[in-house]
Structures are given as structure tokens and as C-alpha cells.
């Protein structure tokens, strides 16, 4: 049964490339609406290795990292119908699920679960149309902008997102004042934000 589901025909990839948001959104739509397992497998082929690496950067070994990557994807399966454009690109949405899973694992001995904090953040008001990031072009634009950041800003971004180090930890690690860490984060965010606004 399992073998059969894996041998099913994969949905064809559009010409825009294997990882375009349009394609990923199409796959996620198939998972949400049709509970399509081959679309789900294709999503895992793209995101599995990335989530695994993301978990390993926080100290998980290979086996645990795969386990956490599977956890993340099971959540994607469960919540696929909740994905909407105001959550950003498919990549961004799946990143937030992986991030929550990783923090919950890192904090497993503590009381509060990070997902309890972040998953209830939805505002009652609708996000204004002008605030919605254009998800379709978002990933490519941000990727290009991250590459163009000066080395010191790229470093704090990477330490925060990949290592989830607090500002204080980054400050101690680099031997620079907390204020410097914050200002590098601000500058990096403002540049990336500008490049996203240029899309609107």
C-alpha cells in the first residue's frame, strides 16, 4: 500500500522551476483539497533536506533531525487547509512550522511551548491589502536581498535564524555591544523590507 502511494505519478512541474512558489502552492493546494499523497511526497522532497539541515544547525543529530522534519511535515499535512496568502509564501509558512517545532524541541524541558505563543497571534482585523506581501515573488526577492547584505549583517541574521541565538547571545558570541547587534538586525531588516516593498 505504501509502495503504491509512492509510485503514483507526481504532479508535473511547471516551467518556472522545481521550487517556484507557484508550484509549491499548487502542491500544497492538492494536499489541502484532495489529501494528495504524491503532492505531499513532492513537498517533502523539496523541504525535507532543508528542514533536516535546519534542525541539525541547532544540534540535532541526523536521526532526530529527520524525525523533526517528519513532525513538521505531518503538521503541514494537518494544517494545509489553513494556509492563506497572508501567511507569506509556502516556503515562509513551512519555515514557521519548522521553527516552532525546533524551538519546542529545544525547550522540551520547559513549561511553555513556542507554538502556544505564536500560533495564536492572528489579529482580529484583516490585514490590509497594502500590507500583504506578494507571496509569489517573495522567496526569490528575499533570497537575492539576503545575498547582497554586508557580511556583518548577514552574520547576525544567520545566527538569529539558523542558531536561534538571542540578541544577548549574539552580542556575547561576537564580542560586540548589544546595541550593535540590534542595529545590524534593524539595517538588515530595513533593506530586505524595502526590496519586498518594491514588489508591491
Amino acid at each position: 500500500m505504501l509502495e503504491v502511494s509512492l509510485r503514483m505519478t507526481r504532479p508535473s512541474r511547471p516551467e518556472t522551476g522545481p521550487a517556484s512558489n507557484q508550484h509549491l502552492a499548487h502542491l500544497l493546494g492538492l494536499v489541502a483539497e484532495n489529501r494528495d499523497k504524491s503532492a505531499f511526497a513532492a513537498l517533502f522532497e523539496h523541504f525535507g533536506p532543508r528542514i533536516k539541515g535546519f534542525m541539525m544547525r541547532k544540534g540535532a543529530d541526523s536521526e532526530l533531525a529527520e524525525d523533526l522534519a517528519q513532525d513538521t511535515m505531518i503538521t503541514v499535512w494537518r494544517k494545509a487547509h489553513m494556509y492563506t496568502l497572508d501567511k507569506g509564501s509556502v516556503s515562509t509558512w513551512i519555515f514557521t512550522i519548522a521553527r516552532n517545532r525546533r524551538i519546542d524541541w529545544a525547550r522540551r524541558l520547559k513549561g511553555v511551548q513556542f507554538s502556544d505563543i505564536t500560533e495564536l497571534e492572528q489579529p482580529s482585523d484583516d490585514v490590509g491589502a497594502d500590507e500583504v506581501v506578494l507571496a509569489s515573488q517573495e522567496s526569490e526577492t528575499v533570497k537575492a536581498a539576503v545575498e547582497k547584505l554586508p557580511a556583518d549583517q548577514k552574520q547576525v541574521i544567520s545566527m538569529a535564524f539558523m542558531e536561534d541565538m538571542t540578541q544577548q547571545e549574539i552580542s556575547q558570541n561576537l564580542g560586540v555591544p548589544l546595541g550593535t547587534v540590534k542595529s545590524r538586525m534593524r539595517l538588515a531588516y530595513q533593506k530586505l523590507s524595502k526590496s519586498l516593498e518594491a514588489l508591491q
Binding site: T92, M162, Q167
Partner: protein, 222 residues
Amino acid sequence: MNIHHHLDDATIVAYAAGALPAPIAMVVSAHLSFCPHCLARVRKAEAIGSAVMEDEAPVSLSAGCMNNLFERLEAETRSEVTAPALTLSETQEESILPPQVRKALGVPLSEIKWKRIAKGVGMKMIDLGAEDEGKLYLMKIEAGRVLPEHGHGGSEVTLVLSGSYTDKFGQFGPGDIADLDDHEDHQPIVDKGADCICLVASETPAKFKDFLPRLFQPVIGI
């Protein structure tokens, strides 16, 4: 809700990275429940996270990984249930607390036993099981009360839930967040007309500037 005071860009980035101490993340999340503007900013910062993850992370999966995933999916689909919705009795008064705060607090706002820490100032600690990361608490300060001038040793964020106060940074009403830089002293005065209830998180103990209020610090604990 008319919000005038928003989160610092650096806080937005750290929150999106999941790199804030839990008490501060809770206050940020509560502000996001009120503020579509900051939520959109968080989404942008999360897009940065996904770009970094796409770029830096990939590690090949082991041969059996896909099969394992599908075995788990089989188990999942056999017992597909929807998670129970958060059931909390919603009174008019409760609605000022965002759901994640209500859940962490565990008792309705009306049943809180405020600990009197100074004249006209009540406090309620919220236990997140993360004492080493910082503190999270509610403060209720009576209308017209002047707090001692103080600075903060580490990061501190204050979200107004009801009433309002004014300090040198302006007036802070419901939904506004004070995301202060370290070492920035201020002296909040609660506006007349209504008590002010705030949700506060701090990373390290604050220090009071004047001699007399400093005596209160061990008692107040902020």
C-alpha cells in the same frame, strides 16, 4: 484599535527567528493579536528566515526517511481528528486579554489576586516555566498614579491592555507596545479616568534610579 506605538525592527527579526526569551515572545505575540501592521512586518521577517533556511541548510535525507514519513502519515490519516478549539468563557472583561495570555494566566482576569507592591500598584506574575529567561507579569496601576523614574538593565517590553499612561515617549493606550532600548530611563504616569492594565516582560531585573524606590526593588521584583 488605534495603535501608535509599534515594535522595534530588531525585535521583529528576533521574534521571527524564534530567538526571543519566552516572556518577551509572549508579549510580542499579544501585541500582534492587536496590530496587523506589526504582523505584516513579522511575515516579512519570516520570509527572511525561509530564504536563509532554503539557502544554508539542505542535508540529504536517509534512504528510509520518505517511507517513515508515509508510515506516520498512514497512522495519522487513520485517526484524523481536528484539534479541540480553545474553549474559554468569553466575558466582556476577558476580551482585553489575547487568548495566548489567557491560556498562560489560567484564571480569568476578574479572579486575579493582585499582589500589592506599592500604593495603587498591583502585580500578577505569570509562570511560563522559563524563569531563567526572564519574567512575565500583569500590572494594574490606578488612575493618576506616578511611577518612580527607572531604567531597565536588559530588554523590556510593555503592552497596554486597558487604560493608558504617558511618559516622555508619548501616550500609550490599549494595543500600544513600549519596546524600549536598554538604559533608557522613563517615568510613566497613568492617565486619569481609568486604571491601567499592562502585560510586561523583562529579560533581566530592572534597576530603579532613585534611592528610595530602589528599596522597593526586591519586593517589587521588576
